[in-house]
Amino acid sequence: MSTSAVSHPGHVPAAAHAEKTGIWSWITTVDHKRIGVLYGASAFLFFLIGGLEALLLRIQLGSPENTFLSPELYNQLFTMHGTTMIFLGIMPLSAAFFNFFIPLMIGARDVAFPRLNAFSFWVFLLGGLFLNSSFLFGAAPNGGWFGYANLTSRQYSPGLNIDFWVIGLQILGVSSLAAAVNFFTTVVNMRAKGMKLMRMPMFVWMSFITQVLLLLAFPVITVALILLMFDRLFGTMFFTASLGGDPLLWQHLFWIFGHPEVYILILPAFGIVSEILPVFSRKPLFGYAAMVFSGVFIAFLGFGVWSHHMFATGMGPIADTVFALGTMLIAIPTGVKIFNWIGTLAGGSLQMKTPLYFCLGFIAMFIIGGLSGVMHASPPADLQQTDSYFIVAHFHYVMFGGSMFALVAGAYYWWPKMFGRMLSEGLGKVHFWLMLIGFNLTFFPMHFLGLHGMPRRVYTYPAGLGFETMNMIETVGSMILGFSFLVFIYNMIVTARRPADAPADPWNGATLEWSIPSPPQEFNFADEPEVHSRDPLWERKRAHGGPLPEPQRVSGAGIHLPNPSFWPIVTALGVASVFISIMMVHTIGPIGIAAAVLFFFFGVFKWAFEPAG
């Protein structure tokens, strides 16, 4: 399975690497850059679906006692909105950047296991399609993204809805775990000469920590989902209180996963912002070591605060106090990061380009989200705020105001490297202002609505409670927010029609990805780079006394690359078949599961014994 791409002295040179095209080349690709593009494109489509769901919810809530959506459909839409944005939107959008940029930033030719990387993507895509296929059956998941027991039991949810959720999330978990093993190994083992841990770009550092969180958090939700699946399909009673089962066990297992999960969503965003700010401030990142260690500290604490999602369950004063203190403690390393970003900007020669706009938006919005987060770290305050729109406001400020602003910033920043074309600056700034205004109109009033007692996850509200005006403002704001993404898509289309003329280093970057042509050639680096400092490209430019000459495209003859393979997609189909056959066990019986397992092993063995080239 170790098919790392390197040049071997004496290796028989293949013909010069011609760019391969056609759909088959994408299906069998093991190139981390193409897989990154595949992740980005599919995640963006899922993100648009999740956004559309949100707009439908906002239309329903725009006026009191609205009948635009039925209560049943409303439940399905808010569940799928949350599940989609977390597992099919933000996580894979981050994965798109992991894939495309971690190898480039550490000076590697590919990830540690290129075929495993392709496998992760195909499993993700199949899992996402499977989850969304539930709409075709009119049975989309409807138990919330948290799926609290015993709402999800067969007794209270007899339909297929929760089955789609429980199976879909397990399929997606396989993808995340495979990717996490791969990227952990890549960062540990594939760094260029001289790229010590404390010289790694901050995006690589934060992504590395994210992989550790994935590795430790996903097995826990896997177990929770397995227990729920057994309850629903095989008649066990893990979460049935009348037989001694404890619905709270679900909440504990879910949030032991769920809290690290929010850091899985935000740490890559921290990394992206920490890359962009220095480049557009023309000075190195302020407090590099403090940034690294605060990231590690956030991740570590993230495993010890899960019960702050459960204050309302009545855990008693000692547990409440410990979890409240732990949660408040997280504000410290997070504050360190915010001050370091401001320190990076301070005194810098700011280049007011679109990526910097989105980063500044990120800092401001994330501070608001962080502050409301510290508020409900306090159990008495939380008891007032829990299950109200105040919480919805909080997590949208950290997830959208935080993660999405940073991911969009990353898209504008890295677009020229990925596609060889600069996105339009003018349209980018229009996108930014519409997104900032739309976002705040949508989510800021939710703070007040929540404190005034409007409960979340309820499909409507009566007139005369004073909720009407603010809900109308939010609905209008959400349309502006949605429109801002149409501007983004228009920008992509306009850009794609222009000639590919982006230089290798359009922003005066500091990291290795800007040292090679845009878009990079299949083998990334013609010569393996050597690193002597934290900002290797700035160092090279200083030594050169000015901008470097444009790097030339070379033939790449003699560079050994892993062969394309279709066994990853076959094995991914095997994984999906196994899980779907379990869901259908009462129709197809154990023979069906056995057949699916055999199909999966067939893929594994063909993969394992495929000559890796």
Binding site: M1, V6, A112, V223, I226, L227, F238, D246, A612
Partner: protein, 196 residues
């Protein structure tokens, strides 16, 4: 498990093979998987309102024998690895074969135990003990089964003379997984059988 020549391995940052880093990473992740299952078992211990209870049904002697074989198999796979690394084909085949036999016995023992319990009236649907016992030991058994399939695959490669010393890592990776499955059982055995 690939056929490509490992002599051509690129130098890695740590000097360790990528696959070795990956299997350790995977094992770290698996720890949390079993920790969650074991926690679930412990949380639900003694909360049943109906039997059979662990005291009534668990039989220590047979499982102790199975446990001993599983522990010995960890030693055997080390001997097999030594054979693979030193090019001693006879030692490799003998001890790898012994490891597989032990693994197969353990799986067989578990199948027998499960059938016996079902016969005695303990199913997954019977009570919390049944649900959490079958889930915990069943997932461990699945891991052992996958380990046996993996080791048999390596065994066949060895029989065909395709496991020379420079590819001993193919066995070492499988062996690391095998040790992990063994270590997990060292936790499960006292938690389930000795603390009943």
């Amino acid at each position: 498990m690939t056929d490509h020549a490992h002599a051509l391995h690129p130098p890695t940052t740590t000097g360790l093979d990528n696959r070795k880093v990956a299997i350790w990473t995977f094992i770290g992740s698996e720890c949390l998987f079993f920790a969650s299952l074991i926690s679930t078992y412990l949380v639900y211990k003694g909360r049943d309102t109906r039997g059979p209870t662990p005291d009534e049904i668990l039989q220590i002697p047979l499982v102790t024998f199975g446990t001993a074989l599983l522990l010995f198999s960890s030693l055997f796979v080390v001997l097999a690895l030594n054979g693979a690394q030193s090019g001693n084909r006879k030692r490799l085949i003998l001890w790898l074969g012994m490891t597989i036999v032990c693994g197969l016995f353990f799986v067989g023992m578990q199948v027998y135990e499960f059938q016996h319990f079902v016969h005695e009236g303990l199913k997954m649907q019977t009570n919390l003990f049944g649900a959490s016992f079958y889930t915990l030991t069943g997932f461990h058994g699945t891991h052992v089964t996958i380990g046996v399939i993996w080791l048999i695959t390596v065994f066949i490669t060895a029989l065909r003379g395709k496991l020379p010393p420079e590819r001993a890592l193919n066995l070492e990776i499988a062996a690391l997984y095998w040790h992990f499955v063994d270590v997990v059982w060292i936790v499960i055995f006292p938690v389930v059988y000795l603390m009943k």
